[in-house]
Structures are given as structure tokens and as C-alpha cells.
């Protein structure tokens, strides 16, 4: 063998992720990346190939630590409807607190890189489908126990929540107002409650 790496691969990957998250793909230069990662440009190319490949790794890292983590924490620790409410509460909280207005790297990428790059398009569509599937699983579980009404199809309700989720992510980058985001989510989450006549007040 030979000389070992001086840097921690996941640490520098995390730094790259932050940079892409903050400025997007195009507006982030390789020099910006190298500096924020604390390594030199040559090391970057040696370790990650090229800018696009690094971005792919950073995006995958984001999905794992952000979405994967959230689903794992909520889906198996809470009742179905409570899991969905916690999911949206956490996203709204983070959106309001996010002073940089970075939003969600996955959503940002869905608009910036996916439409022009079939590889990213497939990857991102896959992750969005997983978000949808998480919503659907929660709804179906709640419908089985009766805590979520079955008057509407779980498929459409899951699609609605996916859309609401994306809408919050977009809106938060321009108007991160809690009243707006919570008001947006409320009617959708109310749809998941039984006996609509008793819910308001």
C-alpha cells in the first residue's frame, strides 16, 4: 500500500454537502468546495472523481442523514397519524429556523439538476417515490386501526401529503413564515382525522 488519506471522507463529504445545499450545483465552484472541505483541488479529484460525481455522493449522503433518519425515527416509534404530524412539525420547525433558507437539498436538486440529467432524474424520482411510500404506509396503517378515515384513498392522500411537503419546502425558501407553513399543512393533516364535524374548535 501507500500513503493514507489525511482527511476523514465522511467529514469532507459533509462539508461538500453543506456547500451544495447552500448555493446549489452550478453556483458552487470546485475551489469553493475544496476550501470548505479543507482539502486541495487535486485531493478532491483524486478522491471523488469530478464535480458531478462529488455532488452525487453529497446528495446520497444528504438523503441518508436527512430523510432516512427522519423516517426511521418516526415511523416505528409513533402511531401512524402522530408520525405524520411529527414529520410535518419537524420540517416546519427546521424551515422557520433555517436562517440561510437552504431549504431541502433534494427538492433544490429536483429543480436544478434533475430536468437536464437523466441519472439524477432517476435517483431523485426514486427518493420522492420513497417519501410518497412512507406517507402511504402511515396512512394505510392508520386506516387499518381506524384512526385515519378510509373515506379517501390512501394513494391520493399520500400524493397530497407529498405535494404539501414539496410546497412547504419551496415556500420556505422565500417566505419562511410559521403561520403560513402551518396554515398550509393544517387542512391536509385535518383530512387524516376522523369525524370532521368535531375537529374544529
Amino acid at each position: 500500500m501507500a500513503r493514507p488519506r489525511e482527511f476523514d471522507e465522511t467529514a469532507v463529504l459533509d462539508a461538500a454537502m453543506q456547500q451544495f445545499w447552500m448555493y446549489g450545483y452550478e453556483a458552487t465552484s470546485v475551489r469553493d468546495l475544496a476550501q470548505s472541505m479543507g482539502i486541495t483541488g487535486a485531493s478532491l479529484y483524486n478522491a471523488f472523481g469530478d464535480k458531478r460525481t462529488l455532488f452525487r455522493r453529497a446528495l446520497a449522503h444528504y438523503v441518508e442523514t436527512s430523510f432516512g433518519d427522519r423516517v426511521g425515527r418516526f415511523e416505528h416509534g409513533l402511531a401512524p397519524r402522530a408520525a405524520l404530524e411529527a414529520f410535518f412539525r419537524e420540517i416546519i420547525d427546521r424551515s422557520v429556523q433555517d436562517e440561510d433558507r437552504k431549504g431541502c437539498l433534494l427538492v433544490n436538486s429536483a429543480l436544478e439538476v434533475a430536468p437536464h440529467d437523466p441519472d439524477f432524474q432517476a435517483t431523485i424520482a426514486e427518493v420522492l417515490a420513497k417519501v410518497e411510500a412512507f406517507f402511504r404506509r402511515c396512512i394505510q396503517a392508520g386506516q387499518r386501526t381506524g384512526e385515519i378515515p378510509s373515506s379517501q384513498s390512501a394513494e391520493d392522500l399520500a400524493r397530497l401529503l407529498l405535494g404539501v411537503h414539496l410546497g412547504i419546502r419551496v415556500l420556505a425558501r422565500t417566505r419562511p413564515e410559521r403561520a403560513l407553513l402551518e396554515g398550509l399543512a393544517r387542512p391536509a393533516l385535518d383530512l387524516l382525522k376522523p369525524s370532521r364535524s368535531s375537529q374544529h374548535k
Copy 2:
């Protein structure tokens, strides 16, 4: 005076809009713009100042011709709920037909340029507020006539529709599937119908 312009200003502005719409702000070079507009770089700078100013003009042009036009056509020609349904039907139709997956220039800009540019942030927040206000006006009008239930606040319902709208716009750039987009909108639009017990089937 002196020599007059050889090009039609709104025609070249429309070409610039298409280019920004297709590739975004960063990924569109001044040379790309000049070529697609059919003018030279010097003329571009002479007529529009710089790239950022041209983009501002192009975005304003987009808002006028796209959103302004749509609101004008629907709000005063249709009943409130029918206007909202037509609004979403048209957006979904265009999203599915849009082979380039350009999405909505306003939404794309809300993610690419608004977070880093206070001027654009204010402009885009303002337009999004106008979309929300359009939804709210329709809902309030429908609630007055009774064709939209008053059990939920018009403010929150308008916020929901805004979020659903943005969600459709995002999703359509990666997964422009009609069943998905229509399934997403359906539960939200159903909320605007009276007597929920009689609506399904």
C-alpha cells in the same frame, strides 16, 4: 434622435425568458442568450443593462403572460370553485405536456435566485402572495354563495392550495405523471366541495 432598434424588444425578451426558463439563471450564458435572442452581446448590454437586469425583465414578462393571464381568464369568467378547478386542470395539463420539463419559471427562480438575492426574494414573495390572494378570493366568494363549505378558514384553504400548486410544479419536473399530479390535487379540491359524505362515488 438616432438610429432605431432593429429588433422587437418584447420578442427578444420572450426569447430570453424561454432560455432562462429552460436552463435557469446560472446555467444560461450571455452568449446563449444573445444567440437565442438573435442579437449581439453588445446590443444585449446596451438594451438591458446586464444579465441580472435582463433576467429581472424576463421574469416580470413571464409573470404577466403566464400567471396574470391565467387569473384574468378564470377569475371573472367562472364560478369560484370552477375557476380553481380550471386553474389546477390547466397547470396539470401543461405539466404533463411539457416535454422539456421546464416547470414554472417563478417556482424555479424561487429556489435558484431568491434565497441569495433580496431583490428577487421580495419580488417573488410578492407574486406568491398574489397567487395565494387569488386562491383566497375564489374561496371567499364561494363561501359566500355556499358552493364552498365554510367549515374551514379561507386563509388556510388558500395556503393549502398554494402549497399544492407549488408541489405540483416541483413534482412535474421530475415525475410528470398525470395520475400522480391529479391524485395530488384531488383531495385538496374535494375539500372545496360541500357535503363530504355525498361526494365520493
